[in-house]
Amino acid sequence: MLYKLERLQRVYGDRIVLDIDFLEIAPNAIYTLIGPNGAGKTSLLKILAFLDKPSSGDLSFSGQPVRFGEKHLHTLRRRVVMLDQTPILFTGTVWKNVEFGLRIRKVPAVQRKRRVEKMLELVGMEKFRDFDSRGLSGGEVKRVALARALVLRPDVLLCDEPTANVDGENQESILHSLEQINREEKTSIIFSTHYLSQGQRLADHTLLLQHGSLSDLAGENIFRVALMPQKDDKTLCRLTEQISLLLPAERVSSCNDSAKLHIDPKLIVLDPDDKDLTHGNYLYGQIMDLAQDRGGIRIGMDAGVRLALTLSVEEYDRRQPVLGQRKLIFIPYDGVVCTSADFF
């Protein structure tokens, strides 16, 4: 495995921004990391890039545990490059920027020239080689920054929202470069994005981060909803003609009329003991499938919409759900994330 994370946490003050129980990332693959703002995507990428240190837990890279001493980190950083969401170019020309990493690695001038030329061509910036970096547009800066990272032929390229704030033409160029470099150089790529469609188009694997934790079932429990404001600061989220969830208005404040809703399968309560909880929604559903899933049990339910939920083994033993059973489920407000429709 390329990366292995176990019980890894990153804490700022008293706020846990990242809490990953277990994650393995395979080499030579493209991973996409999706999740709303503040989900911990950048924090995770920084840790994977060895630019930040986890507060606790274990991280291993290429089968070796990572020691967070400066010398060891410097060696690891030479194999992993991170592309910032809003990259910054050094003062100087485009050429000097792309050449930077090769210069500090003392790559001979002839090789440097060949590699920089090739990379500028890959990102479509060969005509800009002698341009002052300060005169470039946002999309061009991203392309040069991508070339500056890729010219180093890293084992891993980490990109934080590489297509954010970039026009369509530049987006295509960036995505094409990522695909090509993965195919030709076998570079492992992990990139975060707001767009599920973009992630699914490029990535071999999708990771969904919510509130700093990984959600196992990325792609499941995602619904396009119509929002209808109600009295008492509540908003009705209509999943289908028959199925709706009532949410506090502040949980949908960042969305427009048409939004997407993700329900965290870990937070759905099956057959709740308390039937009068007020901080969520109750639904009835029929158990359609049961499967073992990484130390837990995954249950597929038909509640008018297809819903997945996960139970711990202890919880499963206690509840003893049976296929075909009709059960009450409770979806707490905390288990629901509403985003604009163009998000996933």
Partner: protein, 232 residues
Amino acid sequence: MLLDSVQSAFLLLFSFDPELLEIVGVSLKVSFGATLIASFVGIPAGFIVAYSVFPGKRFLLTCLNTLLALPTVVIGLFVYSFISRRGIFGSFDLLYTQKAIIIGQVILIVPVIMTLTIAAVNRIDSRYRVTALTLGANRFQMALVIMKEARYGIFAAVIAAYGRVIAEVGISMMLGGNARGFTRTMTTAMALEYDKGEFVLAVALGITLMTFAFGINMLFHFFQGKTGSDAL
């Protein structure tokens, strides 16, 4: 009287009076020497302080800011106690030499260069640091990147320091002794001429000093402007 003095001063200036040229030469030489040494000390030290986290950093910054207001006579007195005949370094015969002035002036401007370097480095976008590291730079290479990005701010620090030493009088007088042709600087010469009631040379030196000060300020604002435009 002032108009007469100014007229005579200009005549003196344009006649390239040897005494005046000598005084200006000594002033430039010691100020340049002091600024050069203080830059070698102050720029790396400022950089290290800016990029390090250590207990007492805030206290150190407070001390450095306090030292910016340190009167030149206090430094003169302090250095005098070390280099006078009975001082620890008395045997080096430094008192009333250009070296003594330089030592005092270095002490005067190291805090200036350090604090302005710290401010210049702190203004640099933190992404430069992270980008350099992720591209494989070690700590030293990362420092060079930051230095390059902060260069205008650092130049401005050096120029401000040069302006401070060329215009100071306390250290030059106390440690240099105002010896003609040797340690007489523009400011000490002006003070002496004033005492003598001879305004012509004092005014000529004053004009020269003001011209230098103006030039230095022009340079300072040029680099400050560069820093500002870079930040946009």
